[in-house]
C-alpha cells in the first residue's frame, strides 16, 4: 500500500502530470491560455506516429510473440464486451436515458490513446518492457465498442440509432487508427535501422512533446468541466471512477490468462480502463445524435482521463506487479 502511494506520488510530480494539472488549473481559472488546434493536432500526429513506430520496431527485434493473435482477439472481445458492462452499471448508478447510457458505454469500451502513451512512458521510466504489438491491440480496441452501443440502443428500443453503411468504413479508416497501424507497420518493416534514422525525432523529444500535449488536454478537460458544471450527478461521476477500476481488473485477468509480460498486462489494463474522447464522440454525433455530448465528454475527458492519468496508471502498475509477482 505504501508502495502504491509512493509510486502514485512519484507519478504525480512528473513533468507530464504537472503539465496536465497546469492546463486544468489554467482553464478552471479562466485563463485565455490556448494551444492552437493545428498545433495540438500536429502533436497528436507526432505521438501516434512515434508510438506506432516504436511498437513496430519492438516487434521486429523481439519477433512475433505467440500471444500476438490472442492479444488482438482479447482486445476485440474487451472492446465489444465492456460497453455491455458499462451500460448495466450506468443503469444502476444513474438515471441516464437509454441513448445517453449507450453513448457513454461506447466511450468506455473504446480507448484513449493518450492514456496509453502516458502509460508506456511510465513503464519506460521504470525500465519495464512491454510487448511492442500492444499498439496494434490499442488500434483494434477503438471501434468495436461503437457497434455494441448501437446494438444496445436497438435492443432497448432507443430507436434513433442509425447504422449507416458509411459509418463502419469511417470507423475503421479513422485517421488515428490508420496512422497508428501504418506507423507500426513501417516500424516493423524498417526495424532498428529505421529507428536509428529517426530516433532523434521520435524518441528523444517524445516526453517533452507529451508534456505540451497534456497541457492542452488539461486545458480542454478543464474548459469542459467548467462548462458542464451541474450536468452530472454523483452517480455518473461515481461511474467514471468505478468503471475504469472494474475494466482494469478485467484487463488484468485477461492479460495474465493470455500470458502477457508485466508491461503488457499493465498496458492492457490501461486500455481497458481508458475511455475514448476523440473517435467515439465524433461517431456518436453521426450515429446517435440524440445523445447529449456534454455527458459523455465530461465523463470520459473530464473525470476518467484525469483519474487514469494521475492515480489510475500507478495503481494498475502496482496491482499488476503484486498479481504477477513482477
Amino acid at each position: 500500500m505504501t508502495e502504491i502511494l509512493s509510486l502514485a506520488g512519484e507519478n504525480l510530480i512528473s513533468p507530464i502530470i504537472l503539465s496536465f494539472a497546469l492546463g486544468l488549473a489554467a482553464a478552471l481559472a479562466r485563463s485565455d491560455l490556448t494551444i492552437p488546434e493545428a498545433v495540438a493536432k500536429g502533436m497528436s500526429i507526432y505521438l501516434l506516429f512515434a508510438i506506432g513506430f516504436k511498437g513496430g520496431v519492438a516487434v521486429s527485434t523481439h519477433g512475433i510473440d505467440t500471444t500476438l493473435i490472442l492479444s488482438l482477439i482479447a482486445g476485440l472481445i474487451l472492446s465489444f464486451g465492456l460497453p455491455l458492462l458499462a451500460f448495466a452499471l450506468l443503469k444502476i448508478l444513474t438515471g441516464l436515458s437509454v441513448v445517453d447510457a449507450a453513448a457513454v458505454a461506447a466511450h468506455y469500451g473504446s480507448i484513449s490513446i493518450v492514456t496509453f502513451v502516458a502509460g508506456t512512458s511510465v513503464l519506460e521510466g521504470r525500465l519495464i518492457d512491454a510487448e511492442g504489438y500492444m499498439v496494434a491491440v490499442a488500434a483494434v480496441m477503438e471501434a468495436p465498442a461503437i457497434l455494441s452501443a448501437l446494438w444496445l440502443v436497438a435492443r432497448n428500443g432507443g430507436g434513433g440509432a442509425k447504422m449507416e453503411p458509411g459509418l463502419i468504413r469511417e470507423l475503421l479508416l479513422n485517421g488515428s487508427i490508420v496512422l497508428l497501424v501504418g506507423a507500426f507497420l513501417i516500424g516493423a518493416i524498417t526495424g532498428q535501422d529505421g529507428l536509428d534514422d529517426i530516433a532523434s525525432f521520435i524518441v528523444a523529444p517524445f516526453q517533452g512533446v507529451l508534456c505540451l500535449f497534456l497541457l492542452d488536454m488539461g486545458l480542454i478537460a478543464g474548459r469542459g468541466l467548467r462548462q458542464s458544471r451541474g450536468v452530472l450527478g454523483a452517480g455518473a461521476i461515481g461511474f467514471a471512477i468505478l468503471m475504469p477500476l472494474i475494466s482494469a481488473s478485467i484487463g488484468l485477468v485477461t492479460g495474465m490468462l493470455i500470458g502477457l509480460s508485466l508491461g503488457g498486462v499493465v498496458l492492457l489494463m490501461i486500455l481497458s480502463a481508458s475511455a475514448s474522447y476523440i473517435a467515439v464522440p465524433a461517431a456518436m454525433r453521426v450515429a446517435l445524435p440524440e445523445a447529449n455530448p456534454s455527458i459523455y465528454l465530461t465523463l470520459s475527458l473530464g473525470v476518467t482521463f484525469p483519474f487514469n492519468l494521475t492515480l489510475g496508471i500507478p495503481l494498475y502498475l502496482a496491482i499488476a506487479q503484486a498479481a504477477t509477482g513482477g
Binding site: A40, M217, I220, I278, A283
Partner: protein, 102 residues
C-alpha cells in the same frame, strides 16, 4: 452589370456531419457550395469554441448559392441531414454574376 436572382443558403452544422451534408447536396444535384470554418458559437446546446475541442468536433458553415426554383430541393436535402443534429439553416435573397456558374 447584369445579375441573376438567386437564394443564398447558409447551413451551420457539426463538422462530423459535413461529408454527409455535401453528399446529400450532391444527390440533390446541388454541386456548388463553399465551406467556411467556424471558430465557435452558442445555441441551445450551449457555448463552444474551436480551441476547446478535440478531434473533429466543432462546426462548419456551408454556403450555397442556388436558383430560386431549386431552393426547395436543396432545403429538403439539407433538412434530412440537419434534422436530428445540431445546426441552423438560413436563407437570404441574393443576386449573382455569371448565371452559368450556379
Amino acid at each position: 452589370m447584369e445579375t441573376h436572382t438567386a437564394k443564398r443558403v447558409e447551413i451551420v452544422i457539426e463538422a462530423p456531419l459535413e461529408r454527409r451534408l455535401t453528399d446529400a447536396l450532391n444527390e440533390a444535384s446541388v454541386t456548388g457550395y463553399t465551406v467556411l470554418p467556424v471558430r465557435g458559437g452558442s445555441g441551445r446546446s450551449g457555448k463552444w469554441t474551436r480551441e476547446g475541442q478535440v478531434g473533429r468536433a466543432g462546426m462548419v458553415a456551408v454556403v450555397c448559392l442556388i436558383r430560386p426554383e431549386r431552393l426547395d430541393e436543396l432545403l429538403d436535402a439539407a433538412f434530412a441531414v440537419v434534422e436530428k443534429h445540431i445546426g441552423v439553416v438560413s436563407i437570404t435573397d441574393a443576386q449573382v454574376l455569371r448565371a452559368e456558374r450556379f
